[in-house]
Symmetry: C2
Subunit: 369 residues, 2 copies
């Protein structure tokens, strides 16, 4: 009999399920990918900034994937008012608000200038008071470097240092709102990992952290060499250097409750990844989300710690009430090889999954409740 590990109510705390035909395709992959609870990003076009749309969007997702518990978020922007945020929180329409620095990734043009968070302090106050989570895309926007410009900013922000340069803003936010729960999303650098340890240095055993970081599956695999010449692996934040990857793996395996799984699965049609200019940023991991992560834990001989990372720690941080889950099925991974397809074709949409053609060792099954 194959080895089996029960992972409980697995959760992916950073999911892009898109809209329209793409939504129909990728939302179906959440349950087969091993995820029970999915925290949904609001960067649709236009971004989600009101209660009607978030309720409608959630209903659309539930219709496609009825066993998934969807947690919803607003897109931080000037249109949000403290009153609206409070109302949405009290209704339970949203669990958090996502903050995108303007222009750093897909559909983030309506985002925020991270040099100027103060305009959003009334929102953050309401969030703190209503126990909403602030989800930070933690990058400073790169300096605009158009052909013809001969000068550059003295800050020299680029894709490699954009996250470390953002970290002071994270420390300031935590200092200004010590009870606001904050997630540094899809962190990619050893500097970010060190920041998380520092922010949680006073955390007592059993105490819940206020500031956590989510880590994707693909950043446990990739370094810069893997996306240089391979747009399938190009995402924002970009995968960094070998020392950064080691720091991320170390964090995921650390058993610290302030590192949680968030796949940042971000599908694009293959035609938008196969371009010589303007490739869309994003790696598609949803259909095999838990298997990708399990593979890394397995390689490091730490499969027993997987449940903490993909289930326990995130659910504790997000105060998941198990009685309210849409399904009581639990994710079980079974030691049974399978091959990741080269491409996935459905509903006339072609997407290349992460690690196409690779063999993964742990398959997803579900216990029936």
């Amino acid at each position: 009999m194959s080895e089996e590990i029960e992972l409980g109510y697995t959760a992916d705390y950073h999911v892009h399920l898109r809209q329209g035909k793409m939504m129909e395709v990728v939302t179906k992959s959440v349950t087969p990918g091993g995820v029970s609870i999915a925290y949904i990003m609001p960067n649709l076009s236009p971004p989600i900034t009101d209660i009607d749309r978030v309720v409608e969007y959630k209903a659309s997702l539930e219709a496609i994937s009825p066993k998934t518990t969807f947690l919803m978020s607003f897109y931080l922007c000037k249109e949000l008012t403290p009153e609206l945020v409070e109302k949405a929180a009290k209704m339970g329409a949203i669990q958090g608000i996502k903050c995108y620095p303007a222009g750093v990734t897909t559909n983030s043009t309506d985002g925020v200038d991270p040099n100027d968070f103060s305009a959003f302090y009334p929102i953050f106050k309401v969030m703190e008071d209503n126990d909403l989570v602030l989800n930070l895309h933690g990058e400073k926007p790169s300096v605009s470097k158009k052909h013809g410009e001969s000068h550059e900013s003295s800050e020299d922000i680029h894709v490699l240092n954009a996250e470390p340069k953002f970290l002071p803003a994270l420390f300031k936010l935590h200092s200004d709102f010590p009870n606001l729960r904050i997630v540094l999303e899809h962190c990619t650098t050893k500097e970010a990992i060190e920041a998380m340890h520092k922010l949680n240095s006073d955390l007592k055993a059993g105490e819940q952290p206020k500031v956590v970081a989510s880590i994707t599956a693909h950043h446990l695999y990739l370094t810069i060499d893997d996306w240089a010449g391979n747009p399938i692996n190009f995402c924002k934040p970009v995968a960094k250097l070998p020392e950064d990857k080691r720091a991320l793996i170390g964090a995921a395996l650390s058993g610290k409750p302030y590192f949680i799984f968030g796949s940042d699965s971000a599908p694009h049609e293959l035609s938008k990844k196969s371009l010589h200019i303007g490739v869309c940023a994003g790696v598609y991991t949803q259909p095999y989300a838990i298997s990708y992560v399990a593979e890394v834990f397995h390689q490091y001989g730490q499969i027993g710690k997987l449940k903490n990372f993909v289930s326990t720690f995130g659910n504790a941080f997000y105060s998941i009430d198990e009685s309210k889950l849409k399904s009581k099925d639990k994710c079980v991974i079974v030691k049974k090889e399978f091959k990741v397809p080269e491409v996935l074709i459905d509903n006339n949409i072609t997407i290349a999954p992460f690690l196409p053609g690779s063999t993964l060792q742990w398959s997803v099954e579900w216990t029936s409740s």
Copy 2:
């Protein structure tokens, strides 16, 4: 009347003209691109390692571009013997030998392990004695990081540090063969620029350097953010950080005779740049080579120094005998805007040039001899 600048016998000391149909297309672009003397890379498939092939290849190029003076090179590999190299040098069949670390770029699988140059010392000795140039692709091969490997080399070579990590090998070569002329090709990092200054720190005014670096046009424009998501700008060595780009521009403008122009123009069919996996490395600058460089010198108010960089210094290093040039036409750039096409289509081959759709300010003309 438009401003004009006569640049003399312009030279591009690092040119890929390929073979077959691609050769026919791109070789035609050398003269319109403003280049009189072209130093030709030997990384054909199979690589050029014998006299018959290099003579035949040169004749093919001359048939297509009769006004270009082609300087030819061998591909350093175990098949080369000191006797063959000496014979080729004495015949004037080659002006140098190109050394590719195995696997770092297009058609480099037959290359050299830069940890083990000693096997080639008999070749280098013959080159030194016969005044041949050693052209170094100065990168240590990246550590193999296949999916499934859980360990990494302690050296952690990646696309960003591969050039700095190669520099000790350059110092050792120069030390072991102080009269061997060496070019560190297409250098991309401030560490490489600093190394060149150090290697030439004893150079007297008017004295010829033994070790020089070539600098491409595109590395005067690009940083990592420009190729992240834009495979058209993906090349090896990859463009690095803003501080590196500034160092390269500073070197090109420095008036030091050990910085020379070599475009590393490396065409690939558009279909091989528009892939989600396995994009070919290379930027195609040949058709507008001198105009791209002129643009940068102009932006920095240093157009008067352009001739040194694209003509005087390289020709002095390579000991060009002007009486033997195929054409005495001199390149003149004229202050006249033109637009770089989005794509170039010829002979059923489609290639995207560097900076497609951009406007450049200096056009190439030629004086008739």
